[in-house]
Symmetry: C2
Subunit: 247 residues, 2 copies
């Protein structure tokens, strides 16, 4: 009586296995250690391979396991806290943690980006590619979309290549007045190109941070940053909170 139907849904089998596996990870395995293969694990826990695989996927979602190309499944280190700039600055400003890779011009951008920039179809864009690395591990890949008309001064950037070209475009952007920015975070899956940069398989879960930069009453740049969801915890700080706790 009074028990809703939802409450009587039993826990799926893999869910129980996940809890058991999670305890085994704590007690028997060290960070970085490679798990036994799926056949052996399934035999040890007396479950079907499909059930085991579901439980492993779950533990990967929760950041407890990492599946690594050519290595296998390893016990993940704790996630790294990655600061998402609270500061009110253009991409590429001093103190920025991103490395420019290159820049290209294009007249096609994803529909969601075109909507944010309110660009006309066929409008020429600079697309600056950047990457964020910590201790040799790729954390995030980024594309910054800037309408060419917004930064007319960097026409000569076309003569440059690689990071130099990316720097030239961002330098021009920084000469504009930044009047506002906002940001969204959502779950996505790594596109083939991002996956390569992040050393993940295509389709791996990622956290997609979209930042809109406003100047002179219109959106002047949109950055789409793709963070590895397995290794990253995004942090949004207030400097005073940290300072108060440290003091």
């Amino acid at each position: 009586m009074g028990t809703t139907q939802l409450e009587t849904v039993p826990e799926p089998k893999y869910w129980h296995l996940k809890t058991v596996l999670s305890e085994a990870l704590d007690s028997e395995f060290a960070v970085g250690e490679i798990l036994p293969n799926e056949r052996d694990l399934a035999a040890r826990f007396g479950v079907a391979r499909a059930t085991l695989r579901q439980a492993l996927e779950q533990l990967e979602l929760e950041g407890r396991l990492q599946r690594r190309r050519g290595v296998g499944t390893t016990v993940a280190p704790p996630r790294v806290g990655v600061a998402v700039a609270a500061r009110h600055t253009w991409p590429g400003a001093a103190g920025d943690d991103w490395q420019p890779v290159d820049s290209a011009q294009s007249d096609t951008v994803p529909a969601a980006v075109a909507r944010l920039l309110e660009t006309a179809p066929g409008e020429l864009m600079h697309i600056v590619r950047r990457t964020r690395v910590t201790e040799g591990q790729p954390l995030a890949a980024e594309l910054v979309y800037i309408p060419a008309a917004a930064v007319p001064g960097c026409a000569e950037a076309e003569l440059l290549t690689g990071p130099a070209r990316a720097y030239a475009v961002l330098r021009e952007l920084q000469s504009l007045e930044l009047t506002g920015q906002d940001r969204t975070v959502e779950l996505g899956s790594a596109r083939a190109e991002d996956a390569r940069q992040l050393d993940r398989l295509p389709g791996a879960p990622v956290l997609v941070v979209t930042t809109r930069y406003v100047s002179g009453g219109r959106t002047t740049a949109v950055a789409v940053s793709t963070y590895r969801a397995d290794t990253c915890r995004l942090t949004f700080g207030e400097s005073d909170a940290v300072a108060l706790l440290a003091g």
Copy 2:
């Protein structure tokens, strides 16, 4: 020559299927429409069930499909932008979008929360449960952890039950001075209890937002908010960006 090994990794089969399916969703299906069953879909696209299932999971991660209990797989509406309070306020302050459900006392909290609160083992806590709903759909579930010692004035809250008790605890918290807050966002999977509140299956991907509230030089409350990753896009705004674009 010069081609790195990573670039030669071929696209997995399900990835191509995902692209094809995504186009079919755009051209043939309306939002909310139920997809044909897996057997029929696999036959139509000439793929194995396992490949189809991987592609469907991918589209679910990307927010294109929703798997709904007792309904099947439906075409998802665009994700809802959900504002994560940029304002510097305690949980439960005026204008807050959360509904208190209840509050309970406990001396056990998750290890990660205990670390943030720097509580002693066995220290008594208020745990306030809240929920966030839009247009009748649950978006997020939250637990706010507050050491009982930080809010001694709400001892009489024990006489209350349900939302009234939650309100009493939060009212006491609001009487303290809030001196700072910070926030992390990471990928998680829904625990059984959250899954029930969110009308999802246990293990569904969720965005976990952990907010730390600082008062008098120490962390005085920690809120762990679990947002449905399939339907939510978290927004972190600056009021000036929005105002400038609207103006």
